[in-house]
Symmetry: C4
Subunit: 232 residues, 4 copies
């Protein structure tokens, strides 16, 4: 069932340690087959060097396991909400990558300070609203998804233009058209967080990029007028 | 004698350089056989790439060497105290991992700023009290163990819920149910110290997690209602 | 066509990931044949581990592709301007190396704080002037080249003595007599930015080196009285 | 001539890149044969992966090359002074390791903030006095040696108890009984500088260790009552 997608999701998961984004088992990638309404996700707490494509778990859009010997990632309900509410995304990544986590812990949006950010994220990467005590005690992982969606809606941020979030006091989730692109975005987020941390320690002047620089760099790589890379 | 435990302790020691937790020979792991009342520990000052399981030294709970050609770690009296006073722990690690040492040198408890911390440490990781001049001059390593125990008692911290300490002006000790878990906790402590350092440089607002987030994440991975990972 | 130069430029490009200067495809090296008035540059957006010498693109000094199956780097117009206006340089590098980017984002010139800097850069590495909205919206990459040239002219900096710049809110460009030397300068810039960042966090006193130390170290490695290294 | 020492010095040089202490060719190790009054040093500007034991240069205590096809390190006059004035040292290392350089650039002594420092350096590692313009313009490398010696004399620091210095606006020199021990001290200095940098950013309270902790840790590893490691 979904063998090709399982392989892609497996390979995207294996990119996380290669890109230096995970410690131990602290990360997961999923990918969705929109036609079938099913997504594939890493099993919970399995070490990367023991993982196989067959270990991937198939889940439906109610968050129910449809196939798989192992428990799916404990973050599965968060992925379920995001696939339901962000209808154009094809893959999701969660990590505890340290620079991104530092901003999530500090509760500070990752500002757009340069072209490295603007090439991928069309504006600030927001810190999510805080979950209430009630939201944490009940259906915590589902509520984490809901608070991400609510944060984007309330702040009027387009999740396709800003494909990531810093869950407050927790860490980053990123997404993309495919599992691979979601992993790419997870790495960009970490690199940008590192750069921005140091820039903000050098100066606390307002150094955010102007809108026209954001436009230039974002649309250089996205949309019909993109001109970076090769035409395929 | 204790061949299986020696092998486990050897392998746990070899994890330290792989996880980036030691420079030169600055680290040691021990593990205990509670039934026999004996623990196994790395020899003092031996390079990791020359270490073998047979080099491990067997020590009793009075801190006396029972078997072994080599001197045990100079920190053996600290391990002895901890095994005596923390009766449920099965393994102990000491390193000079740099982020944890920085908090130990600064004398600042490692605060719980996020879920990465809360998944493993149920509250602040304390900096130990200072040793007096007398305590340093006489039976220093034993007194280091005593000051750890005293710190936990005075501050009413459960060593099973917070399996680590920052010895003031020295560095981290961690422990766990097994030598492997103690190593795991040593790595988590280092990663969390790195994240927290950067969060604290971004803001000095109170950003500690609320108690209910600490509860949620700690008990997600510990105790009878834990639901992270696979049932074995 | 220019097979030998293509090989050199290819090899210089492959140094970037080895030296830890690039993430994904975010970097490019070019090299020029001054006699023929043609330069060779990396194709746009191609992954380093798939790159071959044959993929290199040949461009003339009007910025027109003369040979090559692939699109040249999107930064080609910047390279074109620099080759035209800096007539003695033989190679150019652009990266998003994180320490250098942090200074570019903060808008702070990289000061000469020590001999590591002075050995390669004869004075501050400047942050370029900002591009205007008009300059960003039209012929952005060409205008990036122009603003670099203008910055050096207005601040009376010799591009041979200070072979690099931090493009504001973007990142570093370096150059040199050959592609290899331009790569060397890119690495020095990154290392110096790391050292200087930490020095500036330790103290904000004026710690710039005196002119005579700058003279000593720069001319120890450059010009007819250089005495570092071997005579060939 | 001195084949065994050449091999030791070669191997000590090759430790520098393995320990992450050098970029490019920015480092050198020497070792002395006190009986013959000759020392062996790395040639200037040769890449580590091309170095062989035969490339090592033999120099006498006047700083004259006695044997060798290649130019000795440009820092040879500094080594010469140190061997003459510090009669008990057997090996010297110079690097531009980034954390140590940051303190040298900032002009801040590396304070003893913990046991990692005290195990190797019996007190602050000093920043050298500044060289005058005259001293930099004439016999610069010899004067660098002289200013190190003068700094230790004026501040009454024993170079055997504190086997290293931060040359102001330049970088670290370390030394030891053998070339290997000098390399060990170079690594300790770098690690301690990293730890201390972060501790000092966490707090600017006085966090230097008390004298009795310095005594305990230094003499735990040095002198006739040392008890760390194995008796050989």
């Amino acid at each position: 069932m979904l063998e090709s997608l399982k392989k892609k999701v497996y390979e995207a998961n294996m990119q996380l340690p290669k890109l230096g984004l995970v410690t131990f088992t602290w990360g997961n990638v999923s990918g969705i087959d929109r036609d079938k309404g099913l997504f594939v996700i890493k099993p919970s707490g399995v070490e990367y060097d023991k993982l196989t494509p067959d270990d991937m778990v198939v889940v439906n859009l109610k968050g129910e396991v449809v196939e798989g010997k192992l428990n799916p990632s404990s973050d599965t309900p968060t992925h379920t909400v995001l696939y339901n509410k962000f209808p154009n995304i094809g893959g999701i990544v969660h990590t505890h990558s340290p620079w991104a986590v530092s901003f999530a812990e500090a509760g500070i949006d990752l500002p757009a300070l340069g072209t490295t950010h603007a090439d991928t994220f069309y504006g600030k990467v927001p810190v999510s609203n805080a979950l209430t005590e009630e939201e944490i005690k009940t259906a915590y992982e589902k509520n984490t998804g809901d608070v991400i969606v609510r944060t984007f809606r309330e702040r009027n941020i387009d999740p396709e233009a800003v494909p990531g979030v810093l869950v407050r006091q927790h860490g980053p989730f990123t997404w993309g058209a495919t599992p691979d692109k979601a992993v790419y975005n997870a790495k960009v987020l970490e690199v940008v967080a590192e750069m921005d941390y140091h820039a903000l320690q050098l100066t606390r002047d307002n150094i955010e990029v102007p809108q026209y620089l954001l436009d230039k760099h974002y649309y250089r790589k996205h949309g019909k007028n993109a001109y970076y890379g090769q035409k395929n």
